[in-house]
């Protein structure tokens, strides 16, 4: 989940009877599964929530280029290097779709990016973890993209049309990335002792942060309930997290990795895996800016933007000059 904690501005979710006028008609459309489009009336809080969520998602794509970009120049063979480059290029593309989707809600890409650089907008906490070994690139593809897909597939039916349509395109590419990530892990796990050690170590470090990608537990989230009433979300955080665990554990077993959770076990009655307690203190600390790489990630993005200011300015000034010359020639 690339937007793991989105403020909806709500204290509690109002029932349909409590809503009036336009708000009520809006909720009825939502309940009837009618897609909301940019020109439709929408409650201000719905609009703001979507701006937060879509921009968090966009920012995550962009910040997410950094931990993986860290390994492009060091990818261990030409094929892996090409795949990783293509993947990071896709991520920039996802960022572009998503900023465009957010712009249909009346904000500009520049405002959103400024908010990110000012530390006012969030991005997924997962990208604040480092990638010290090549196995981390495998884990990001397999687990991080895996978690993102579990979250994003229901978003393809999100009530806001432009976001839902962006997700359809994004999901196709993400599944491809995830398979590639798994393939990296497979090669490592079938490789030398050193490679297996690398794989297990990376898995130990990514497992819990990936579970945190689904956001706070259901009981702790009124925002989640509001998002569900608006059908921005379709499932609760805990449901999605459970789905991710259930699908990922057999994959880890297939790789021969042990799961860094002594409490993890199959619950025959429930038909699900039970799992241990998430360290919510770590989760909130990373969200607050105290993760291992928060500072570096934001600095890298800020520097790229500031160092590139003269480039963007040159492009703008040249475009104006050219337009003026064309007008004069006409």
């Amino acid at each position: 989940m690339y937007s793991q904690f989105v403020d909806t501005g709500s204290d509690r979710v109002l029932s349909s009877e409590e809503l009036e006028g336009l708000e009520r008609a809006f909720q009825e459309r939502i309940d009837d599964e009618i897609t909301i489009e940019p020109r439709d009336w929408m409650p201000e809080k719905y609009r703001e929530t979507l701006v937060r969520q879509i921009s968090q998602h966009a920012h995550s794509e962009i910040v997410g280029m950094l931990p993986e970009g860290n390994w492009i120049t060091r990818a261990p063979n030409l094929r892996r290097k090409l795949i990783l480059l293509a993947k990071v290029q896709d991520e920039a593309g996802h960022g572009l779709y998503l900023y465009s989707a957010a712009e249909t809600l009346g904000v500009s890409r520049e405002e959103l990016i400024d908010a990110l650089h000012a530390g006012k907008a969030k991005y997924s906490s997962i990208f604040n973890y480092p990638t010290p070994t090549w196995a981390d690139i495998g884990c990001i593809g397999w687990l991080v993209d895996g978690a993102a897909i579990v979250n994003q597939i229901p978003l393809c039916r999100c009530s806001y049309g432009p976001y839902a349509r962006a997700m359809v395109r994004v999901c196709k590419e993400e599944s491809f990335h995830q398979r590639q990530g798994y393939e990296i892990m497979l090669d490592l796990c079938r490789g030398t002792d050193e490679q297996r050690r690398m794989a297990q170590d990376a898995f130990n470090r990514w497992w819990w942060p990936c579970l945190m990608m689904f956001g706070p537990a259901d009981g702790a989230s009124v925002h989640s309930q509001q998002s569900m009433a608006w059908k921005i979300k379709r499932h609760t955080n805990d449901d999605l997290r459970q789905r991710f665990i259930d699908q990922t554990v057999p994959q880890a077993e297939h790789l021969g990795l042990s799961i860094p959770d002594p409490d993890l076990k199959w619950n025959e009655e429930q038909g699900h895996y039970d799992y241990g307690e998430i360290d919510w203190n770590e989760f909130w600390q990373v969200l607050k800016g105290n993760g291992p790489c928060n500072r570096e990630r934001l600095e890298a993005r800020r520097n790229a933007y500031e160092d590139g200011a003269w480039v963007r300015e040159a492009a703008r000034v040249h475009a104006e000059k050219r337009a003026r010359r064309e007008r004069e020639a006409a």
């Binding site: 962009i62 280029m65 950094l66 970009g69 492009i72 120049t73 060091r74 990818a75 261990p76 063979n77 030409l78 094929r79 892996r80 290097k81 090409l82 480059l85 293509a86 990071v88 290029q89 920039a92 593309g93 960022g95 572009l96 900023y99 090549w134 990296i184 090669d187 490592l188 490789g191 030398t192 050193e194 490679q195 890298a300 520097n303 790229a304 933007y305 160092d307 590139g308 200011a309 003269w310 480039v311 963007r312 300015e313 040159a314 492009a315 000034v317 040249h318 000059k321 050219r322």
Partner: protein
């Protein structure tokens, strides 16, 4: 040297230019001046490394019993045959763009000639690569014009970049025994003809950008023969670290 050895070296030069420039460009990923440039830079890098892979696969076949990855990750500085231009550091975006433009303007006519090579593999790889490089050249040329005809700052930066990179352009067109043998065999390109097209294109873009073409003074060379600047060693150390550290591993 036999023609077989000349062909190997010739193909390795083509491979190494693409590989080293692709590697340099990939250093920008995550740090480019705009989202669109992240995509464009990654895209060009991807094209070039893809081309390098095709050339290296051919070179490996010619050597027999070698593979493309071994050639990319287990050769050291003296055995790399790229020109000095492509190993120059990224610097600022003007430096990166100027390096790209000066190389693309050489790369396209070179590949277009090689598309008619008597060696069918060379012809095939060159024809495919030329399509990609056509885009690269259009893009880098447009940025040269934006910088030259943009703000005072962009103009100052691009003039500085061109001046610093110009001494590395001579090597692109300096033929040696390998080039001569390959030309005579109908396999390689005629560098004088490539230079003419390069020169015409540079003049055209510089005129539109309002830039002055530097005088051809002393030109640096040696890369094609394995005599590189100090930059290449670091680039290779970074690129080759994993396969060197774990020689028995498959990835």
């Amino acid at each position: 040297m036999s023609d077989d050895q000349h062909l190997q070296t010739y193909v390795l030069r083509l491979a190494d230019n693409a590989l080293v420039l692709g590697q340099r460009l990939s250093e920008w990923v995550g740090h480019a001046p705009a989202l669109e440039e992240e995509m464009a830079t990654a895209n060009v890098s991807l094209d070039l490394i893809g081309q390098a892979k095709s050339w290296l696969e051919y070179a490996a076949e010619l050597r027999g019993g070698d593979d493309a990855d071994r050639l990319a990750f287990h050769r050291d500085v003296l055995d790399f045959h790229n020109t000095l231009l492509v190993e120059q550091p990224n610097g600022d975006y003007a430096m990166t763009i100027a390096r790209q433009f000066l190389f693309d303007a050489f790369h396209l006519p070179l590949l277009e000639q090689l598309a008619g090579s008597a060696d069918p593999r060379v012809a095939e790889i060159a024809a495919k690569s030329a399509k990609e490089v056509g885009y690269h050249l259009r893009r880098s040329g447009e940025w040269m014009i934006r910088f030259g005809d943009g703000t005072d700052e962009s103009r100052r930066r691009v003039i500085d970049a061109v001046e610093r990179l110009w001494p590395f352009t001579g090597e692109l067109f300096t033929g040696d025994a390998v080039d001569e043998a390959m030309l005579a065999a109908g396999v390689g390109a005629d560098l004088a003809a490539v230079r003419e097209r390069w020169s015409g294109h540079v003049d055209e873009v510089f005129a539109e950008a309002g830039l002055e073409r530097p005088e051809d003074g002393w030109m640096q060379s040696g890369g094609k023969q394995g005599h590189h600047s100090e930059h290449l060693g670091y680039l290779l150390a970074e690129m080759q670290q994993l396969p060197r550290a774990y020689p028995d591993a498959r990835w």
